[in-house]
Symmetry: C2
Subunit: 259 residues, 2 copies
C-alpha cells in the first residue's frame, strides 16, 4: 500500500521543501520507491534537484489542467535510485486561479494521482506545498492519507498551528476521511537556543506521540546542498543533516500511519 504524505505548514520558511527533498532521498536510499510531487509555484523542490524550471514545458500544472498530458510526459529522474519527481514551474500559480471555478476543485490532484498509482508502484508519495492554505494545498490534503507538519521551533510557527489543524480537520470531515496527522517534525532546530527547547517542550506536551522523536538540527550543509542540485546524502553524507534525515526516514517507516 502506497503511503501518500503531504508536507504542510502555511508559515513560511520552516523546512517543508528541505524535508521533502531529503526525507525523499533517505527513504529512497532505504529501498523505498518514492515519488516527490512539487505543488509549489515557487518550484523550490524542483530547483533542489537542479531542474531548470523555466525550461520545463510539461509539469504538474499541465498534469492537473490538461487531460491529454500523461504522467510519463512529466515525471523526471532525480539522479537518485528509487526517487522520481513531478516538477513544478511558475505556470502553477495560474492553476490556483483556474481551479477556483472547477467542479470538485479540491479533488483534481487526487484523481490524477489515483490514476498514476493504478499503473505505477510506489512505496511513498511526498507532496511539497507552498506556504499557504489555498486551493493547491487543499488538493494536497485531499489527496494525501497522512499529513506531516515541518515546524520551526519559534514563536510565529507555534501561532499558526491551531489554524492548520483546523483546516486538516475540515478536510478530513468534508473531503478526505482517510486523512490523519501522522506527525510534527521539529526542523531547523538550534540546540544552543533556549527558545527552541521551550517551544519544543510546549509542542510535545500538547501533541505527545504526534511529534516525531527525531529532531532535524540546523546544519549549513542542508542550506548549501540545493545550490548544487543535490540531496544531503550526496552533498554531505557524514553531516548532522544527513544523519538527522536518515533517522527521520527510519522513524517514518517504523511509525507507519496512525489509525
Amino acid at each position: 500500500h502506497t503511503r501518500i504524505i503531504a508536507l504542510v505548514n502555511q508559515k513560511g520558511g520552516v523546512g517543508k521543501t528541505t524535508t521533502a527533498a531529503n526525507l525523499g532521498a533517505c527513504l529512497a536510499s532505504l529501498k523505498q520507491k518514492t515519488l516527490l510531487v512539487d505543488l509549489d509555484p515557487q518550484s523550490n523542490l524542483s530547483l533542489h534537484f537542479g531542474m531548470k524550471v523555466h525550461k520545463i514545458e510539461k509539469s504538474i500544472n499541465e498534469l492537473l489542467l490538461d487531460e491529454n498530458i500523461k504522467f510519463k510526459d512529466v515525471v523526471v529522474n532525480t539522479g537518485i535510485d528509487n526517487l522520481e519527481l513531478i516538477p513544478a514551474n511558475i505556470e502553477l500559480s495560474s492553476a490556483e486561479m483556474e481551479l477556483v471555478n472547477v467542479v470538485g476543485r479540491e479533488r483534481v490532484l487526487k484523481d490524477v494521482l489515483d490514476d498514476i498509482l493504478k499503473k505505477n508502484k510506489y512505496d511513498f508519495v511526498i507532496i511539497d506545498c507552498s506556504p499557504s492554505l489555498g486551493l493547491l494545498t487543499l488538493n494536497a490534503l485531499t489527496t494525501a492519507e497522512e499529513v506531516f507538519i515541518p515546524l520551526q521551533a519559534e514563536y510565529f510557527a507555534l501561532q499558526g498551528l491551531g489554524r492548520l489543524l483546523k483546516t486538516v480537520e475540515l478536510v478530513k470531515n468534508r473531503l478526505n476521511p482517510e486523512l490523519e496527522l501522522t506527525g510534527i517534525i521539529p526542523c531547523m532546530f538550534d540546540v544552543r537556543r533556549s527558545l527552541s527547547w521551550e517551544v519544543l517542550e510546549k509542542v510535545r506536551s500538547f501533541f505527545r506521540e504526534s511529534v516525531f522523536k527525531t529532531i532535524i538540527r540546523v546544519n549549513v550543509n542542508l542550506a548549501e546542498a540545493p545550490g548544487y542540485g543535490q540531496s544531503i546524502l550526496t552533498y554531505a553524507p557524514g553531516s548532522h543533516g544527513a544523519k538527522d534525515y536518515l533517522q527521520l526516514a527510519k522513524e517514518v517507516i517504523r511509525k507507519g500511519k496512525r489509525d
Copy 2:
C-alpha cells in the same frame, strides 16, 4: 510627504514581519510617525505586538470590504510612541477570495489608504505581506510607492528574486507608475557562513545601490521578542538586532525614495 513601503517576498520565512515590526519601531524612535499595516492572514505582525487576533472584531479585512467601517474603528496602539497598527486576523484569508470578482480588485487598499492619509499625517506607512504574490500582495504593490525586499542570503531566496522583480515591473507598468524598488535588505544574515557572503556578493554585484548597506544579522533576541509582544528596542535594546534595525532605519531616512 508620506513614504509608503511594501515589504514583499514570496519566499517564506525571510524576515518580512520581523523587519516590519522592528524597522517600524526604530523609525518611531527617530520621531517618524509610522503606521504599520498587517496584510497577512497569518497576522504575525499583529501577534508581534501582542494582539489577541482571534478576539479582534474589526481589522484590515473589514476596512477593505465594508464601507461603513472607518479607520478609527480599526487602528490600534502598539504601546510605542509614534507607532500605530492596522491589525489583521484570519478573516483576511477570505478577503482574497472575495476580492477576485471586485472591479479594480488590485486598488481596493489604495483607495482605503488614500482616504486615511487625507485626514491623518504619517511620515511612513509600512505594509507587511504574506509569502505569496496573490491579490493581497498586489494590493500592497499598487498602494505603495516603494518596495523593500527582505532577503535571506540562501539559495532558494535568490531563485525567487527574478519573478518578484517581474511582478513589481508589471504592477508599475499597469497599475502604479509611482512604484520603485528602493532596496533589498539582507536579513537573518549569519556572518560565520560562507554561503551567506557568497549570496550577498551575487546580489550586490547584480543590484548595486539597490542593496541596503545595513545587514540584519541573525540574533536570537529578534526571534524571542515577538513571544513577549515587544519590538527589539523594548525587549533587548543593547542587542545586535536592535543596533542593526536602528542602523537600517537611519539608512532608510537618509536614502529616501529612488527616482
